[in-house]
Symmetry: C2
Subunit: 396 residues, 2 copies
């Protein structure tokens, strides 16, 4: 098979996601990162990022994947020996714990398995039950893509951990722009996100927002071995609309374009589109006999949809048939590998894409004799979900 | 001024450099980084990188700028308390020292000022004069772009430091593909380079080659706080043609294209092109009355050409006139800021680009009354330098 001739599959994985043509074309520009052209570009990007993070604080682009941004957050805002509370409900929250331990933090893990996200009541009860008196940092993933769980009670939890004087660090790599998230009004100190998920831009960069002066004060007092992720240095250059090291300039042109599309559509609409499209994909696949891996609506992520494989079906074979039909979906990870497949419901997934996705999954199940009939209402779910008027085509 | 309407200046800075249209267009593809399409892409890229690094060892792409790759090198191959010998001859070698100290190494700095690179005889004499008996690591920059110096004696120095059993780490961020560099035959253990310099691809990624089993053995025994730059993890994923974290997939398509252009031209020719073009630019500007900042031919870099500003001329004003003419050049950095300007002679700089560059510099000097006449032979230098036949246009 010559993979250079085989068409690129539709990206329905939890990142990278499909890129609007306008954004793809915007990639084709590079300027000197110490020039007036760049200063203007940087300013535009930061302004757009503030809009999606819902913050008046500072936002910095990092040339690194989301994991790099999480590392930057941990290195700069956690002191060795800090007591750090972390709810664990998937691979990425576990990786966060791993990161925190590497810098020498005392981590208090509260585990939720891989089928439910923490709730405010439960987390509070557990922590109080453990007799914990001191929390220096509360660090959490907001949307753990590995099982497809969202931490809906985060705003309430932030209010509560603030009573300990804790600094709040949030990894929202996989849901920014695809679900409600408010840095300033929720009281988050530092948050990170990534380019290739719901912001409809290519995989290259990640973003860190530092929203409070408490966070900066702490960062100034911490020394760590990284120059590349040194927030004090990044801030110093950010003040003159530059990055300390050569950034991916072409990518910054692309994210500027993506952010301007999100502004044209409106962030509320962009988020609502994710939510309604996700619900439609779930309904369509349920009608075809699939079961969601996360049963409870409250815990379920809007941006990563996980489903049990059809009974008796080889999981790799199933995904490979879907791939042959031109659609890339993912297996689950780590503890639940082979138990669920995952769909990235992220960014610029058009109605036709959603249709390809749902029908490829149905076709694979048919090929493996895992379903007998197809309920035509599966397709009506895809025909009828809400999308922003900018993307809607009327019957005309 | 609307900088979105103002044309993008020619990139004659020490990175980013001009991108061939074929490479720019190759950016416009993204696939799932856990898919068969990606495995093939990864393999092609690594094979092309081995060719330019002149190594049979492993090469890994990192989603980070060159500074990130240097950080990866330092974190993974230097133990706290290691005695590390470092020659310092510019900003980037000084940054290397800074990096090494952050991980707790005992650094022996040998300083060469900002106008000459180390030589074998001198470095050896100094180290022996200091009575040094133990060198665990020899770490150096090969081409320090800040003054425009190349460390020509590196192969001899490698032979000598190997007699101490030292591991050899080399930052060749700014000259790979633009000057001779041989990882295997020179005996280098670990080297890093970057995308946006002489490899004619966009600023996004950097590359690390681990060429010896000694290097791997050492890395396995070291623990450090970074997951993002953990070479053991990167290696594990590299074995299955993947990266541990989402890489810049679109960029990997671009570097594959750039590497295939370099193969079509031939690495020897690609390097020779840099050297001959650099010599022609120097000759052209000398004829116009400019003086090179590095007087000695032996020390001078082929990829970063530095010149003294014309006497009595305001350095910022001078560069801003060049910029207005559509050409981006750089000031020198740190210790010699304002004393020299720097030209990136890197990658896909065509004959027309070289002409624009030289004439914009001459025009700025004329505007500031810093030269009286222009020697027409300046232009003949640009007309007549050697370039690969693939890029040559005959009088025909």
């Amino acid at each position: 098979m010559n993979l250079d001739l085989a068409p690129d599959p539709l990206l329905a994985v939890p990142g990278p996601s499909q890129i609007p043509p306008r954004v793809m074309r915007a990639l084709m520009r590079v300027v000197d990162h110490r020039s007036p052209h760049f200063h203007r570009l940087y300013r535009d990007v930061v302004e757009g990022l503030r809009y999606v993070f819902r913050t008046n604080g500072d936002v910095y682009p990092l040339t690194a994947s989301g994991t790099g941004a999480v590392e930057a957050m941990v290195l700069n805002f956690v002191r060795p020996r800090d007591t750090v509370l972390v709810p664990v409900f998937g691979s990425f929250s576990r990786r966060l714990v791993n990161h925190l331990r590497r810098v020498g933090a005392e981590v208090i893990e509260v585990n939720y398995g891989w089928d439910k996200a923490p709730t405010y009541e439960d987390l509070k009860a557990k922590v109080e039950g453990m007799g914990i008196k001191k929390i220096d940092v509360f660090a959490t993933v907001y949307n753990d893509t590995s099982p497809g769980l969202a931490f809906r009670d985060l705003p309430k939890v932030v209010d509560w951990v603030k009573s300990y004087g804790a600094l709040v660090l949030v990894d929202n790599v996989s849901a920014l722009g695809g679900d409600y998230f408010e840095v300033d009004s929720w009281g988050i100190d530092v948050a990170v996100s990534s380019s290739q998920k719901c912001l409809a831009s290519p995989p290259v960069m990640s973003f860190i927002t530092v929203a409070t002066s408490e966070a900066y004060r702490k960062a100034e007092s911490i020394s760590h071995p990284s120059i590349y992720f040194d927030i004090n240095l990044i801030r110093k250059f950010g003040e003159k609309f530059e990055t300390p090291f050569t950034p991916s300039v072409n990518y910054l042109f692309a994210i500027r374009e993506a952010l301007s599309i999100i502004r044209e559509v409106g962030l509320e609409n962009w988020i609502r589109w994710h939510i309604e499209r996700g619900r439609a994909i779930i309904n369509a696949l349920r009608r075809a006999g699939f079961e969601t891996f996360i049963e409870n609506d409250y815990y379920r992520s809007s941006t990563v949809l996980s489903f049990k494989y059809p009974q008796g079906v080889d999981s790799a074979r199933f995904r490979s048939i879907v791939y042959r039909l031109g659609v890339s979906i993912s297996d689950a990870m780590d503890d639940i590998k082979g138990k669920a497949f995952r769909i990235g419901n992220m960014g610029y997934l058009t109605r036709r894409d959603a249709l390809s996705l749902v029908s490829a999954i149905i076709a694979a199940a048919a090929e493996l004799m895992a379903i007998k009939d197809v309920d035509v209402n599966s397709f009506r779910e895809i025909l009828n979900y809400w999308e922003p008027e900018q993307f809607s085509v009327d019957e005309g």
